[in-house]
């Protein structure tokens, strides 16, 4: 950065924040309308599960689970009902007690259909007797902690759903200097992490301690955006010698793992690798609380904090929702909306997925349900041509050139797109958000990435076919 710019930046920081402190941040990104005031003062509230809960067999990155129960079986709260042998994967558990109605495909929030276990809720919430406290952190070895986490089916609750035990098991030869606790909550509308910090502080720190021990981290840094002053204060009061709070500028996508590491430690995770390459592991606030629960009570991940909100929602709030609870139940909990909704989003408005029907279940990665009206999320027809305004380039937090990437993907020049960083795109959606021509930039990048993955699979199949001497169909693709 030229010195002139540095001076201007420095000045603007002081002007913006009265010189109290200089919140850390990354280059790029965008300031949004947050609407967090709708729910930020609404305490977490337990809600009943729906009459039928739908537990998908895949709510994580990695291998899909195989069902461990069959139609007609009686299951209990916390009982493992699906598991996989694969290392990258996580078991699924029943969130209610009741009878297995069927194992069938269901429409999932990802927009895809997948197998799921439908359980008729008997309303008794009878807990599986095998659920017992796992002992004190001091007595557990790192290996034991990660085993508990795996068995509890814990995945990254920020939305990415990467299995947490894989994240915490750092490969031989790598050392974790910092465990970053991601409390940025940079998606607009969502406040469940904020409420969790205020209301479940003790469990949060318990979970952080366990995670730090599991991955062998030297230091813990809790990273909070400066729009949550009350949470920052509580975190600072709880922190002891090993742990520290870092205040971040409120800017999207500050909660992106790579952006967080850049802002807090000024380190960049090399392209195509994971954060432990630079000595960092990042976990989300909700994940830490789930870890605490799994150790303290032995209860696996069967419920999570969910913000149900929107300006048209009559009674928005933060809720503890059992996994598998369907949207129609949540609609009743918030008393519906003042006008017909246009989009119901699982997750935040920047990266979440819209659901098709109200019978889609809340899954492990559902950090919120955001209901938007037609005015708030207008339909975009044919976009205008790109006018090279450079907004996407200036705002891209991965420092890509989305305008050129879009053209490359659209023209199916995938090799060139790869060179220009297609796979370094974090799909935060900032480029599409800022585009005055309303182009579907990030949507193209998803298409391009899927096509690259399909290409890779085809090549693998070909290699396998060569090895075995058998002909394997190479058709398909997108």
């Amino acid at each position: 950065m030229p010195p002139f710019l540095s001076a201007v930046y420095f000045l603007s920081c002081i002007l913006n924040y009265g010189g109290d402190y200089m919140p850390k941040t990354f280059r790029g990104g965008v300031h949004l309308e947050y609407h967090k005031e709708l729910t930020s003062s609404r305490p977490l509230q337990e809600v009943e599960a729906s009459d039928v809960v739908i537990i998908p067999l895949k709510m994580h990155v990695g291998e899909q689970c195989k069902p461990l129960v069959k139609k007609g079986d009686r299951v209990l709260v916390g009982q493992k009902i699906g598991d996989t042998d694969a290392y990258v994967g996580a078991p699924v558990h029943s969130s209610v007690s009741g009878t297995v109605q069927k194992i069938d495909t269901a429409l999932l929030p990802s927009g895809l259909r997948g197998p799921a276990i439908f359980i008729e809720n008997d309303g008794l919430y009878e807990v599986d007797p095998s659920i017992r406290p796992k002992g004190l952190i001091e007595d557990l070895t790192p290996r034991q902690i990660t085993d508990i986490i795996r068995e509890a089916g814990i995945v990254g609750l920020g939305g990415a759903c990467f299995p947490t035990h894989v994240k915490l098991c750092v490969p031989e030869g790598k050392h974790v200097e910092y465990l970053l606790v991601n409390a940025a909550e940079c998606e607009p509308y969502l406040t469940c992490d904020h409420r969790t910090m205020l209301e479940r502080t003790e469990d949060l720190f318990y979970g952080i301690k366990a995670a730090a021990k599991a991955c062998g981290a030297d230091h813990v840094i809790i990273c909070v955006e400066d729009n949550k002053p009350d949470a920052i204060e509580i975190m600072q009061n709880y922190c002891d010698g090993q742990c520290q709070v870092v205040v971040l500028e409120t800017k999207y996508p500050q909660g992106g793992e790579r952006q967080l590491i850049k802002a807090v430690l000024n380190r960049e995770v090399p392209s195509g690798t994971l954060p432990y390459e630079v000595g960092v592991v990042v976990i989300n606030v909700g994940t830490a609380v789930a870890i605490a629960e799994a150790i303290k009570t032995g209860m696996p991940l069967i419920k999570r904090a969910v913000t149900v909100t929107g300006t048209i929602v009559k009674n928005p709030g933060n809720f503890i929702v059992r996994i598998g609870t369907t949207m129609d139940k949540l609609r009743d909990v918030v008393d519906g909306t003042t006008e017909p909704p246009s989009r119901i989003i699982y997750g935040g408005p920047m990266m979440g997925n819209t659901i098709h029907e109200l019978d889609e279940p809340v899954v492990k990665g559902t950090s919120g349900v955001v209901v938007l009206s037609r005015d708030e999320s207008p339909l975009i027809g044919e976009p205008d041509p790109c006018i090279s305004c450079a907004r996407c380039v200036d705002h891209c937090p991965a420092y890509l050139m989305p305008n050129i990437l879009e053209r490359m993907v659209a023209e199916n020049k995938l090799d060139k797109a790869k060179k220009l960083g297609l796979q370094d795109c974090i799909e935060c959606g900032t480029c599409s958000y800022v585009c005055p021509s309303k182009r579907h930039l990030v949507q193209w990048f998803r298409v391009g990435k899927m096509e690259l993955a399909a290409q890779r699979r085809r090549e693998e199949d070909k290699a396998k076919a060569k090895e075995t001497g058998k002909a394997v169909s190479t058709g398909g693709g997108m």
Partner: protein, 303 residues
């Protein structure tokens, strides 16, 4: 959340910024208005007719082209309005109306539509129109009108071509001969600052141009303020070099682009037979934009 209502299913992000191409174009037109109004005030009603003719012809050319080609009518995006207005402001106040119309049609058709319309043109369409007129009708393009009392004091040339020193206050307010839209520095600055504050234009291009002109003026031993305020420099720096389509998209590229224009302007003004070189400098740098974009690609995160 009535179940009877159909839900929209779409790829994220589900919210979009409120800026749009139209909003940007109309803001640029609004920002140009003060300078255009001063032009009309200084040079009289004929200047207004020149502006209206060039705007009308630009819009008409766009509509007719899109109709003939069976394209979606995009004239509402305001880009033809901006091109027409900019071209009009780049004409001398004595320009015959047919010439204004011809320039606009050329700017829209040859400057923009033949490349594929909005977003596809390599050169600033208004400047293409102006340079076309300068090459075709050199006499008409340099026939200046004079604000009252000007000729007696300073002779019949624009300040840059003149040998007599023109007071700075006249340059600021615009009571000098020149193109309709380029004479009033103060009005151009108001419009330019408005666009900068709204972040519709980028400070690095403007800063690159103006900074280079100041530095080179000092090196060459000429008055930097005079060079900043005279000729079409402010009009070009704030409103034409910053045209999105024809300027680089990378942060470093925009600095290089601006500095390149400033350099060319001073070289042309000091060493060529032309008194004024903003249009040619911008067009030359327009041609270098793909090269600049390629050479200044940002380093990707983690690479």
């Amino acid at each position: 959340m009535a179940t009877s209502e159909l839900l929209t299913v779409a790829s994220s992000p589900h919210i979009r910024d409120k800026t749009s191409v139209e909003k940007i174009m109309f803001s640029v037109a609004l920002a140009l208005t003060p300078a255009a109004l001063v032009g009309v005030y200084v040079f009289g009603w004929h200047a207004l007719w020149v502006l209206l003719t060039s705007i009308g012809a630009a819009i008409a050319a766009e509509v007719i082209w899109q109709k003939l080609r069976g394209q979606r009518l995009r004239v509402y995006d305001g880009s033809a309005l901006v091109t027409g207005l900019l071209l009009g402001m780049n004409l001398p106040p004595t320009a015959p109306l047919w010439m204004a119309a011809l320039g606009s049609v050329f700017a829209i058709i040859i400057g923009k539509q033949v490349y594929g319309g909005l977003g596809a043109n390599p050169f600033n369409p208004a400047l293409v129109g102006r340079v076309f007129l300068t090459a075709s009708f050199p006499a008409l393009m340099t026939k200046w009108a004079f604000p009252a009392g000007y000729v007696d004091a300073f002779g019949q040339a624009t300040p840059l071509a003149s040998s007599v020193e023109v007071p700075m206050s006249k340059l600021f307010l615009g009571t000098i001969p020149g193109c309709i839209g380029e004479v009033s520095a103060i009005a151009l600055l108001i419009g330019g600052l408005y666009l900068l504050i709204k972040r519709y234009i980028d400070y690095s291009i403007v800063g690159g141009i103006l900074g280079t002109v100041v530095v080179l003026s000092l090196i060459m031993g000429v008055d930097p303020l005079f060079h900043l305020l005279s000729g079409g420099l402010l009009l070009g720096a704030f409103f034409m070099a910053t045209d999105y389509v024809t300027s680089p998209v990378t942060p470093r590229g925009r600095w290089i682009f601006g500095i390149g224009i400033g350099l060319l302007v001073m070289l042309i003004r000091q060493f060529s037979s032309m008194p004024e070189g903003v249009s040619f400098s911008i067009l030359l740098m327009n041609a270098a934009v793909p090269l600049i974009n390629r050479a200044t690609r940002p380093r990707i995160y983690g690479r």
